[in-house]
């Protein structure tokens, strides 16, 4: 990183450097980061848009299709299944926010050993989703899984969640909620730590308590934590891929596919690579996510401007 600012011996250029140092330095510092980010993140977005208009197997010639991939997509049942599952993911995944808040409120006490409890509650988040997926596959396993046994004991017949087209997506979402709730919990625990004690005392004197206190006094102060929790949960829901791949591989009969998984399946499937079609699915997913991302960014810019 110092190569760019090696001491210059030529007196003329040195004075030029001196004069412009303040305006040039940020660009020298930014250059490596921007180059990497543009090559690997920004340009590929545009390339995917462009590819989505072609038929391409990843190796041979690309054939221009125009809107062909999109026309096919809008007539593709698997696409609608994936889209529907994405909506279910998004809605149910947001339960992680109130659930995380509930656990945070439950744990926000100063008893002996509470720190260890907090870390143990948090620790599903640290585990890879691949491992979480395997854990829950075992949990649901027909015949001997803990969940299967539990249902069998309660109702008489067990349910093979991951083999049932109507239940499979919900089963996977529960697995995804586990680490996500842990994440939201830690955000709220940090937030609760910083709630102003004066306001709580004042509200207590006014007779506020329980849920009323939570809603009118605490939650407004937790707004930054809530914003962050919603952002990471929405992004996490739309990015869901690992669990679907590990737990069901999209099955049974493709009923647990989500857009991210369907895209991967089309672009790199064993039946032949359909890169263009995959890119078209990715573009749709990207546009859906852009709605949320622009909302988040808009709010962040507003906060940023206030900060100046």
């Amino acid at each position: 990183m110092t190569t760019a600012v090696l001491p210059d011996t030529n007196p003329r250029t040195r004075s030029w450097w001196r004069r412009n140092q303040q305006s040039l330095t940020p660009w020298l510092f930014l250059a490596p980061g921007i180059v990497m980010f543009v090559i690997y993140v920004i340009l590929p977005i545009f390339q995917s848009f462009w590819l989505s208009f072609y038929d391409w197997d990843g190796l041979g010639e690309k054939t221009w299709l125009g809107w062909g991939n999109y026309v096919e997509l809008f007539d593709d049942d698997a696409f609608y299944t994936s889209l529907k599952n994405n909506v279910i993911w998004l809605v149910l995944y947001l339960l992680a926010v109130p659930a995380g808040l509930a656990i945070a409120v439950f744990l926000n006490q100063a008893v002996i050993g509470i720190r260890i409890y907090k870390s143990l509650f948090f620790f599903p988040f640290v585990i890879s989703q691949v491992v979480v997926g395997l854990m829950f596959s075992w949990f649901y396993a027909p015949g001997f899984g803990l969940f299967y046994k539990l249902v069998e004991w309660l109702t008489g017949t067990g349910v093979a969640v991951l083999a049932d087209p109507d239940l499979v997506t919900y089963g996977i979402i529960v697995a995804g909620l586990w680490p996500q709730i842990a994440y939201c919990m830690i955000l709220y625990l940090t937030g609760l730590n910083n709630v102003s004690p004066d306001q709580i005392e004042a509200a207590r004197l006014d007779g506020a308590k329980g849920l009323k206190m939570l809603w009118y006094v605490i939650l407004p102060q937790l707004r930054p934590a809530t914003f962050l929790a919603v952002v990471v949960t929405v992004i996490g829901a739309l990015r869901s891929f690992d669990l679907v791949s590990i737990m069901t591989d999209g099955g049974p009969f493709g009923s647990s596919r989500v857009l991210s998984f369907y895209m991967y399946e089309q672009a790199l499937s064993e039946y032949g690579y359909r890169m263009g079609y995959g890119a078209a699915i990715a573009v749709i997913l990207f546009l859906i996510m852009m709605v949320f991302i622009s909302g988040f960014i808009w709010k962040m810019i507003r906060d940023e401007k206030e900060g100046y």
């Binding site: 600012v5 140092q21 940020p26 510092f29 930014l30 490596p32 980061g33 921007i34 990497m36 980010f37 090559i39 690997y40 993140v41 920004i42 590929p44 390339q47 995917s48 006490q109 008893v111 409890y117 143990l120 509650f121 948090f122 620790f123 599903p124 640290v126 585990i127 890879s128 691949v130 491992v131 395997l134 854990m135 075992w138 949990f139 803990l146 046994k149 955000l187 940090t190 609760l192 910083n194 308590k209 006094v217 605490i218 930054p224 934590a225 962050l228 990015r239 891929f241 690992d242 791949s245 991967y264 672009a267 890169m275 990715a282 573009v283 990207f286 991302i293 960014i297 962040m300 810019i301």
Partner: protein, 281 residues
Amino acid sequence: MFPRPVQDRSSAARIGYQIALPIVLFIWLLPLLGVAMTSLRPSSDLAAGNYFGWPSAIAFSNYAEVFQNSPIGQYILNSFKVTIPTVIGAVALSCMTGFALGVYRFRSNLLIFFMFVAGNFVPFQILMVPVRDLTVSLGLYNKVSGLVLFHVAFQSGFCTLFMRNFIRALPRELIEAARVEGVAEWRIFWFIVLPLMRPAIAALSVLVFTFIWNDYFWATVLTTSATTQPVTAGLYSLNGQWIASWHLVSAGSIVAAMPPVLMFFAMQRHFIAGLTLGAVK
């Protein structure tokens, strides 16, 4: 403090809370405990249908078997080979970008900052085909370095957000004073700002380590063979081979989860400080 401390309540509430804590924790960790137990059960128990009863023996041999009969040792090594260079690269890059965006005021500052932030949120699938193509044409497909390059680039988005916000919160007077003294800009970075960034560097390193270790998608897209695959992708293929050998699947899962878990418990404070940056104003 909210809710009201249990110490201020009746002794019944206090005892009730102390009893409820371990019970709730037990339920919360049930899937994990189940897998941990299964990983220590002899396969004969599972064959005999003894899934939850008292194990006939504690079988550490499952772990030995996993290491002897599968390339999991190689997978773990690959994961380290991907993760450590990525942490160093992404943190180094973002120290520089964070410094540039946090200290200097220039017209496109916010625009560049939000380019990093927005890029960090995009779905991986929109990058997949072009990044795979680029990696193939660089000759880095199915190589550790191909995976590292992509991870460094992508993580620099989140890391820049993190570093820039951290540097913004440092006292500006320090930098102004150094400038009045005529200290060169790069010296300000190296001798004044960088030493102050130590806590941020620690927090970010732990976070990026965990993110990259746990990455599964890019591992499957950019690597294919056991000699280069990280442990997440490796577990997927092992799971296919070990159909219904739950004692092995469980032991393998526990092994794969260990490094980030140990990292978390060792560096807990940094980890949580990093994760919750921005959760309070």
